[in-house]
């Protein structure tokens, strides 16, 4: 980082200071607005087409705004808080749910089917074309959820494994995939052949859906809290490492093969990761505040944000994939323009 002129070679960026822990951020479906959920209950809607500094909004949630996603069936955003409220933002925020004593930490949206899923303790509330449904209760609090690429299924990670819910037809029985221990993150592979989880045991666990056979990748120094499949489903990346570490899933799968590794050894421990939707790029944020963009094809990476501003807590690609939004636990948001 001491290389002279390094900062000058960084892509242009815009900085917004929210003053509170960024628990989640995401672009709306047009890419014109960035939604940021913060530890002080605020939900910022930042106009990306206008560089003037946004003024702080009134807190939307009492306590912490825990999560935010783009509204899968319209404009603006859906946010969840530890006040047990699920809000739809727009000209005025509208309350979708209010669960006393619960919290909304995990949300997922599927745009093509216009379906929203929100975890409320051991249950999941789903809003789709056929109305509101409640899935569960699951064996424990649901730690994470993800839609299958076509939106026909929703997978829930919990203690003891994952449950795959069939959303259509609605009466189909859910499928359980078991692995002892607590599963904290879950992601469908983009080709829908695999489901991967990060576990409390500092490992990744992956099920091959056709056979139900599973595999375990262990040895991470801390638990893997975020997962990212490369857009072509060839590699599975996770946080908790100092280098980009991608397990190869093309062909017969990763059994007996080492992962690909690349990046900068000195960046710190990876705390956030997000894959580009249409290209082989993976964005990674570190506990030092540094952000890199790696390429699973060329196995190279570039620093796009220097260390500082706390640890990276959230990353989001713009819908077109030309901009990356970074949030940190010290409340800094950077919108990095990657067109050059």
């Amino acid at each position: 980082m001491s290389e002279p002129g390094f900062a000058e070679r960084l892509p242009p960026s815009r900085r917004v200071e929210t003053g509170a822990w960024v628990s989640g951020l995401t672009y709306d479906r047009t890419g014109r607005t960035l939604g940021v959920a913060c530890g002080d209950g605020r939900v910022w809607c930042i106009d990306t087409t206008n560089d003037s500094p946004p003024s702080p909004p009134e807190p939307a949630h009492r306590g912490v705004s825990l999560s935010i996603i783009a509204n899968p069936s319209g404009d603006s955003f859906i946010s969840g808080g530890d006040d047990g409220r699920l809000l739809r933002h727009g000209d005025a925020a509208r309350e979708l749910e209010s669960f006393k004593g619960r919290w909304f930490e995990r949300l997922a949206g599927h745009t093509k089917t216009a379906t929203l899923a929100a975890v409320a303790g051991k249950e999941i509330v789903v809003y789709g074309a056929s109305g509101r449904r409640v899935l569960g209760p699951h064996p424990s609090t649901v730690a994470d959820i993800d839609f299958s690429p076509d939106g026909s299924r929703l997978v829930a990670a919990h203690y003891g494994g994952v449950t795959i819910h069939v959303l259509k037809p609605a009466d189909a029985a859910p499928r359980s995939l078991e692995w002892k221990g607590s599963h904290v993150a879950v992601r469908y592979s983009p080709d829908a052949r695999f489901i991967a989880t990060g576990t409390q045991d500092n490992a990744l666990h992956v099920w091959r859906l056709a056979t139900g056979k599973d595999m375990q990748m262990s040895g991470y120094p801390v638990k893997v809290k975020q997962l990212a499949w490369s857009h072509d489903a060839r590699f599975l990346f996770g946080t908790a490492t100092s280098l980009f570490t991608g397990w190869p899933f093309a062909g017969k799968g990763p059994e007996g093969k080492p992962p690909i590794q690349f990046g900068d050894e000195g960046a710190g421990i990876m705390t956030a990761i997000a894959a580009h939707a249409a290209d082989s790029f993976i964005a990674a944020g570190f506990d030092t505040g540094e952000v890199q963009v790696g390429d699973s094809k060329t196995r190279r990476s570039a620093v796009i944000k220097l260390a500082g501003d706390g640890q990276v807590s959230a990353l989001a690609w713009s819908p077109g994939g030309w901009s990356l939004a970074v949030g940190t636990d010290q409340g800094v948001v950077e919108l990095i323009d990657l067109r050059r």
Binding site: A20, W21, G63, Q200
Partner: protein
């Protein structure tokens, strides 16, 4: 990053935990606490945060009981960390029947929790009137007393002096090392239960300056102040054999300890018997070292470091304490004796 101190509050239902929590929340101390409880009760809430949660006990895939954590606590602490401002402390109340192990382990086992918080002390509230009734019902009452750094022997006004003495003697059989406060209506100075640094190696010597000397008071009919036997635990064996199988063992040595032998021995002991060893603590005179070696552990997890210098004229000696279940005093004594420098 400064770590928020966490106090774990255990005790049977009705022992006085809620009364104590109310004191903490309503007392004019100018600090900001978060309280994690099982249910919303009648709690005074000023500028403090009260979080209700359902206990979720998560075992690891390896099945090791010592790696079992409270999943809900990991989430709650993650949420508290996101709030603006700094907390002066987090107080976790457990249910009356809870095993304190998973709660304590969460603060060592989970990397995020470990980064943001530190376990300060385990405080157990005991109902003087009902303890002797509960103590043999199940293991919970004994485990809660065994894990404690601080015991509030509460409701002392509701029992006779003789009964109180019997309860206290029984508590001391289980855990002779905890600070014990006799209380009525859970009235105790908050400094006695918060900010104890009971798991902080640097502070063990400060908090317990007489650790090397104490530990025999509970043996009412013995006086070993000047015992020259380096392994003078012969009496402990007989003392503990006929007791309940949750109890404590202390080992001492006035011969310097060989560091490598000790490390090998203690890691073997904790690996093999960690499930049954709730707490361990020690100060060692390591051969050739000018500083005291201090260590403490919860089940299999152990933490050790060099502490203060031995002072001029201070008699150098070593002492280990184990609190747990089915402890084999003779085996531990022999193993520790073999760690002495020859």
């Amino acid at each position: 990053m400064s770590q928020v101190p966490v106090t774990v509050l255990t005790g049977y239902l009705g022992a006085g935990k809620t009364t104590l929590l109310n004191r903490i929340l309503t007392e004019n101390h100018g600090r900001k606490y978060a309280v994690v409880i099982n249910e919303f009760g009648e709690l005074g809430i000023d500028n403090d945060i009260v979080v209700g949660t359902d206990e979720e006990i998560f075992e690891m895939n390896n099945g090791c009981i010592c790696c079992t954590v409270r999943g809900d606590l990991i989430r709650v602490i993650g949420g508290l960390a996101k709030r603006p401002g700094t907390l002066d402390g987090i107080i976790v109340e457990t249910t009356g029947l809870a095993d304190p192990g998973p709660v304590a382990q969460t603060f060592f086992q989970d990397d995020e929790v470990r980064t943001r918080t530190r376990l300060d002390a385990i405080v157990t509230v005991v109902d003087a009137r009902h303890f002797l009734l509960h103590v043999d019902d199940g293991v919970e009452a004994r485990e809660q007393a065994a894990f404690a750094d601080v015991i509030l022997l509460n409701k002392t006004d509701l029992v006779s002096p003789e009964e109180l003495a019997r309860v206290e003697a029984r508590l001391r059989q289980i855990n002779p090392y905890a600070r014990l406060h006799r209380t009525q209506k859970s009235a105790v100075a908050l400094a006695e239960i918060l900010g104890r640094h009971a798991f902080d190696l640097k502070r063990i010597l400060e908090i317990e300056p007489d650790f090397l000397e104490q530990g025999h008071h509970h043996l009412h009919d013995h006086d070993h102040e000047h015992c020259d036997d380096p392994t003078h635990d012969h009496h402990h064996d007989s003392h503990h054999q006929h007791l309940e199988n949750i109890g404590s063992i202390s080992l001492t040595s006035d011969k310097p300890i060989d560091e490598q032998k000790f490390q090998r021995w203690i890691s073997t002991i904790l690996r093999e018997f960690g499930t049954d060893i709730f707490r361990s603590k020690g100060i060692l005179d390591i051969s050739g070292a000018s500083k005291k070696y201090v260590f403490q552990g919860v089940h299999m997890m152990m933490d050790g470091d060099w502490g203060n210098l031995w002072k001029d004229g201070e008699s150098r000696m070593s002492k280990l304490v184990f609190i747990g279940r089915k402890l084999d005093a003779e085996q531990l004594r022999r193993g520790f004796a073999a760690c002495a420098t020859r």
